[in-house]
Point group: C2
Chain length 238, copies 2
């Protein structure tokens, strides 16, 4: 049985203000929970509908877990984890990513997973970007949230002081197939509906555009996560 | 006012069996509806909460539209469109895409949008792939469904008879950075959880893997839409 207090806490953790206040977030699914534990994240509780052997847990029947789950298909296991202290080691990566006003949790989660794949450890997010501890973001990172840190900052002063080249994904830059990239730098990608904001655009040293192929192409833009994928693959070309 | 019959029809069109039976699908959002009309799709009805000038419509108040909408944030405009007859012009593209058991509507929609960007006109989908007329697929294509056709077929005989090279996205193929691609061919991508199925794998001539960069990379895989993005960008390199 989940106590009323436990149910309430899980429900509150769907909202950013309570996640910040309580310093906790929800993760669902065995793989994500195992990755978080492996990477040193501490948890307050784990609720599982089946016995597990890698952590202490409380056995909860699946219909009850289903009721509090944030997923369409409840996975039968949920953890309440502590949000780690934000570190500010901004200059450790040779190449980083900045995201400006991404609002869709699935897009941010997919971008975090991509960064993990390409070895990017830090993402700099504009303050209005969706919270990385949102349950849907956590879900779509597939565990990569355990290894990639999101720093919520004001991008304008951050990029103004940035010491290497600032690249930006726009619709009127140089073709992404050119070998444009220095060894060090940061790529900025913008929101789903408006791209990079006007003020942030002023901080871009080099804009890059994914070239559509041939005639008869009518798509006006790409999904931000797929655009980021294409550009990161190009940046990390060897 | 939406009549009870209209409400019922919209509700039924959330299910594949009724879409097939009635030959209709739902599209929401002004951009998608305009693109469908521009590309010659015919509609049965358009319901809008505001006056529009590009098509005959029925004015419906927003709360009513909200009740029948398939979106989290109702856009205030919904169209009931006719599913076009499936054409079988399988060999018109120089490069095509095949998807094996993709189940997430957002992933298929994003892949359709990508294909539109890169000029791929036909996608060959295994019969168990999510229906391309699912309202969530339509939504995430952002209008590209109007220009890209999905053919639901048995991939095994199709790929067996395929005349050009069959490429497959796997976790143990050649690095995607090598220039592997012939001018003609087809790329096969697999399901979110299991990749390409064993039987379809036997039809692959050349498997390709997106190389993770450097050490410390722990993501086990990429989201299927982002992986498709990276591979298509490489295939259409010039």
């Amino acid at each position: 049985m989940l106590s009323k207090n436990e149910q309430k806490k899980i429900r509150l953790l769907g909202e950013k203000k309570y996640r910040s206040k309580l310093g906790l977030f929800i993760a669902e699914g065995i793989k994500i929970i195992q990755e978080l534990i492996k990477e040193g994240y501490t948890f307050e509780s784990i609720y599982s509908s089946k016995p597990i052997d890698f952590a202490p847990y409380k056995l909860i029947d699946k219909p009850t877990l289903n009721k509090v789950s944030y997923l369409t298909n409840c996975s039968g296991i949920m953890g309440v984890f502590k949000i780690p202290e934000s570190s500010h080691s901004y200059k450790t990566d040779s190449f980083s990513l900045a995201v400006d006003s991404i609002s869709d949790p699935g897009n941010l989660g997919t971008i975090i997973r991509l960064c993990d794949w390409f070895g990017i450890k830090n993402i700099y997010c504009s303050s209005d970007t969706v919270d990385c501890y949102n349950p849907k973001v956590i879900q779509s990172t597939m565990g990569s949230i355990a290894r990639v840190k999101c720093h919520y900052i004001d991008l304008i002063p951050f990029l103004s002081k940035y010491e290497s080249t600032v690249y930006g994904a726009t619709l009127d830059g140089k073709t992404h197939y050119h070998n444009l990239y220095d060894k060090k730098g940061i790529l900025v990608v913008g929101s789903e509906s408006h791209g990079i904001s006007t003020e942030v655009l002023k901080k871009i040293d080099q804009s890059v555009t994914i070239t559509p192929k041939g005639l008869g192409t009518n798509a006006e833009s790409l999904n931000v996560a797929t655009a980021t994928a294409i550009l990161l693959s190009e940046i990390f070309r060897f």
